[in-house]
């Protein structure tokens, strides 16, 4: 006994479905091969459908009047013997050729195309002053594509850490997640009176980098509360004289950067980058600081911050911020950062979740210093408090090390005083 299926035949060259206008058999009926079992109506013809098998009708799969796609089962027939002579029409869609094409495409790896530049690539490299020998091509056999160059140009526009070549290479060996440049176009409705602001190149680059970081990096977040009363007192005692002497402000931010740089030295795990099959701990401690203008966000770098004095850091912060605001910042002044500190407190924030400056492993937000009543030695005291918020790449870092790192930053800041915190 074998169960066979009768399927809706294609009745007519362009026909895709058929309607059972009436059944000529019912379950239990015995039919011979080629006996009519149903009347079927299609756009082109009306016809009686013959059975492809001899046997007993087991089940009708469709009601009269029901329309079925070509190839759908219309009824089930139990036959006496196996269907030795019946072969299902072969599936002609076979995917072998596609496979073959894919194989052929994947077969050629190597770098033989590395120095073959298309006219489009040459034009872009000349217009943007890009040395093509420094670019890693993503095309077949290492060819530099137009898109590779466009990406490079975008990175230049956004004064932000571009990963060092070594890291970049590593990045490319891992399967790249699909990162959309921006969110899908045209999803937001525009109503009368709305203003449509064209997206500038810099804005696009920011968007792309933020999106990439947010989509690729599993962010985790943590915050510590720090008592900055000592720092406030200490800094207040110096600021007038400092300004007069040096010509620029001694900001709190410089103290925080110093404290963070010192802690990074002690916790090099935090000063590191994700590189696919490994984590790279950076030797240099280069602190990216976020500087906002009206329209954009730049991230210049204080290089070797751990080797600099608070005064030196304060000066660099001032100079870099001026350069950003006057548009004089150079791209090499925005490269090489290993950790970002963001002075969110400057605009009154007391808590925020930063997006990591890709490909760094963490970003620390220094919030606003506010006076709050706190319990000190079981007594209520008015203290200057500040929150430090850390976003971390959970691929690279875990809570434990970050907790220790933040505890160390807290400790340094709370201990700041004339005695143990030299400015020069």
């Amino acid at each position: 006994m074998t169960i066979e299926q009768m399927k809706m035949p294609q009745l007519g060259e362009s026909v895709t479905e058929g309607t059972i206008s009436s059944w000529l058999v019912k379950p239990g009926d015995v039919v011979n091969k080629y006996d009519s079992i149903a009347e079927v109506m299609t756009d082109k013809v009306n016809a009686e459908v013959p059975s492809s098998f001899s046997g007993t009708i087991k089940e009708l799969k469709a009601e009269e009047g029901e329309t079925l796609a070509v190839g759908e089962v219309i009824c089930v027939i139990e036959t006496e013997t196996g269907s030795s002579t019946t072969i299902e029409n072969e599936d002609l869609r076979g995917d072998e050729p596609e496979q073959a094409i894919e194989d052929a495409y994947n077969a050629s790896e190597g770098n033989s195309m590395k120095s073959r530049y298309s006219p489009a690539v040459l034009k872009l490299s000349q217009e943007n002053g890009i040395d093509l020998t420094t670019i890693q091509g993503t095309g077949r056999e290492g060819r530099i594509t137009r898109k590779d160059l466009l990406k490079q140009i975008e990175m230049k526009d956004l004064p932000q850490e571009t990963a060092q070549p070594k890291v970049k290479t590593e990045e490319q060996t891992q399967p790249k997640p699909k990162v959309e440049q921006t969110s899908p176009i045209g999803t937001a409705p525009v109503h009368k009176g709305d203003i449509e602001v064209p997206v500038s190149g810099v804005r696009k680059a920011i968007a792309a980098n933020m999106l990439r970081s947010k989509q690729e990096v599993p962010h985790a977040w943590t915050m510590v509360e720090v008592d900055a009363t000592n720092l406030v007192n200490y800094r207040d005692s110096l600021k007038g004289e400092f300004k007069q002497k040096e010509g620029y402000n001694l900001t709190y931010f410089a103290f925080f950067v110093k404290a963070i740089a010192q802690s990074l030295k002690e916790f090099p795990e935090v000063n590191s980058m994700w590189a696919g099959d490994k984590i790279i701990q950076k030797k240099d401690i280069n602190i990216s600081i976020a500087v906002a203008t009206d329209k954009a966000l730049y991230v210049p770098v204080i290089k070797h911050a751990d080797e600099k004095t608070i005064k030196g850091i304060a000066r660099e912060i001032t100079e870099l911020a001026d350069k950003v605001r006057t548009g004089k910042i150079k791209s090499d002044e925005m490269q090489g950062g290993t950790f970002t500190v963001n002075n969110t407190g400057s605009f009154g924030s007391i808590q925020s979740m930063g997006i990591i400056n890709y490909p760094q492993a963490a970003i620390l937000q220094v919030e606003s210093i506010v006076k709050r009543p706190v319990i000190v030695n079981d007594m209520i005291a008015v203290r200057s408090m500040v929150n430090l918020c850390l976003s971390l790449d959970h691929r690279v870092l875990d809570g434990l090390v970050c907790g220790k790192f933040l505890a160390r930053v807290k400790e340094i800041i709370e201990d700041m005083s004339k005695e143990n915190t030299p400015i020069y």
């Binding site: 073959r116 530049y117 298309s118 006219p119």
Partner: protein, 327 residues
């Protein structure tokens, strides 16, 4: 080596093949007693008789269709269309039948026939005696299209076409018939169908063309040489299927390519040549691919001013070649 005209090379090739093989015969309008309106079959009627040089009724589809039948039987018919412009009624027989006989029968039947037709302008032939029709047939696998430029190529390629086991359209430039003369060996030789021929070696620019335009390019190349511009000239000879290897080689050699056809520009043979170059030579090109062709109007007008305006000529070719060389 005797110097003969382009049309005499046609006659010579047919005569030699008819002498060699009794299955070869000619059919068409006025091909017998008159010897053809251009005299391409001159003398054959007297030599081979009316049964092998057949004056047919005036009906192009029958000329082609009867030829297809005879070829399927095993004959080697040479059918003449009086003008390429008049091939249109026979298109069903050529495209639906001749081109597909072998394929549709899974190699059981074949259609070894030649259809000859004079094409091309510059002879005050107006709209219907001047056309280039090759592009109509140049996406029909199963057909071969030969368009020779010199008497030597005419003889060698026409003999090859007659001996070919598949249908061949053999388009002869009617202005070249008596304008172009050249050395042609008296003995038997065939040239390969499907192979282009370098007509001039050069280093600075490459010209790829066929038919009468080959001569325009060669003349211009001569002039440019005195200015220190060296032109490489490739004669396609077979325009379908194209000799891709030769095209890629010639284009890559100089990186600057001028494609010329007498046909109207859009959808012409040289568009396909440009596609082959674009697919294969991206990293060897030193200039955009340049095309020189007739304007996109239905056909060549009668008045001499407009005819001249339509036709590719040596001056236009020279100008284009110079422009490309200077790029």
């Amino acid at each position: 080596m005797p110097v003969i005209s382009y049309i005499d090379a046609v006659t010579m090739a047919i005569r030699e093949e008819m002498e060699r093989d009794s299955q070869v015969f000619v059919l068409g309008e006025d091909v017998g007693k008159k010897g053809g309106v251009f005299k391409a079959t001159h003398g054959l009627y007297d030599q081979f008789g009316e049964h092998r040089v057949i004056d047919t009724p005036l009906a192009e589809s029958a000329i082609a269709g009867v030829g297809v039948g005879a070829a399927m039987y095993g004959m080697r018919p040479i059918a003449e269309m009086q003008f390429a412009d008049f091939i249109m009624p026979a298109i069903n027989q050529i495209i639906s039948e001749a081109a597909k006989v072998r394929y549709r029968s899974n190699n059981d039947w074949s259609c070894p026939m030649v259809i000859r037709a004079p094409y091309g302008g510059g002879v005050h032939g107006a709209l219907y005696h001047s056309q280039s029709v090759e592009a109509i047939f140049a996406n029909q696998p199963g057909l071969k299209i030969v368009m020779p430029s010199t008497p030597y190529d005419v003889k060698g390629l026409l003999k090859a076409a007659i001996r070919d086991d598949d249908p061949v359209l053999f388009f002869e430039h009617k202005r070249a018939y008596r304008l172009i003369k050249g050395e042609v060996p008296a003995d038997d030789y065939v040239l390969p169908i499907g192979k282009a021929d370098v007509k001039r070696q050069g280093e600075d620019i490459t010209v790829i063309t066929y038919g009468l335009c080959v001569h325009f390019a060669l003349q211009a190349a001569e002039k440019l040489a005195s200015d220190g511009i060296s032109a490489h000239v490739l004669d396609l000879r077979t325009v379908y299927p194209l000799d891709k290897e030769a095209i890629v080689e010639a284009a890559s050699k100089t990186g600057k390519v001028l494609l010329i056809t007498e046909d109207t520009k859009e959808g012409s043979i040289i568009g396909e040549v440009a596609a082959i170059i674009a697919e294969n030579c991206l990293f060897d090109l030193d200039a955009p691919i340049m095309r020189l062709a007739g304007p996109d109007i239905p056909a060549m007008p009668y008045a001499p001013t407009m005819e001249k305006y339509f036709m590719v000529n040596p001056d236009k070719v020279e100008k284009a070649m110079r422009e490309l060389a200077e790029y």
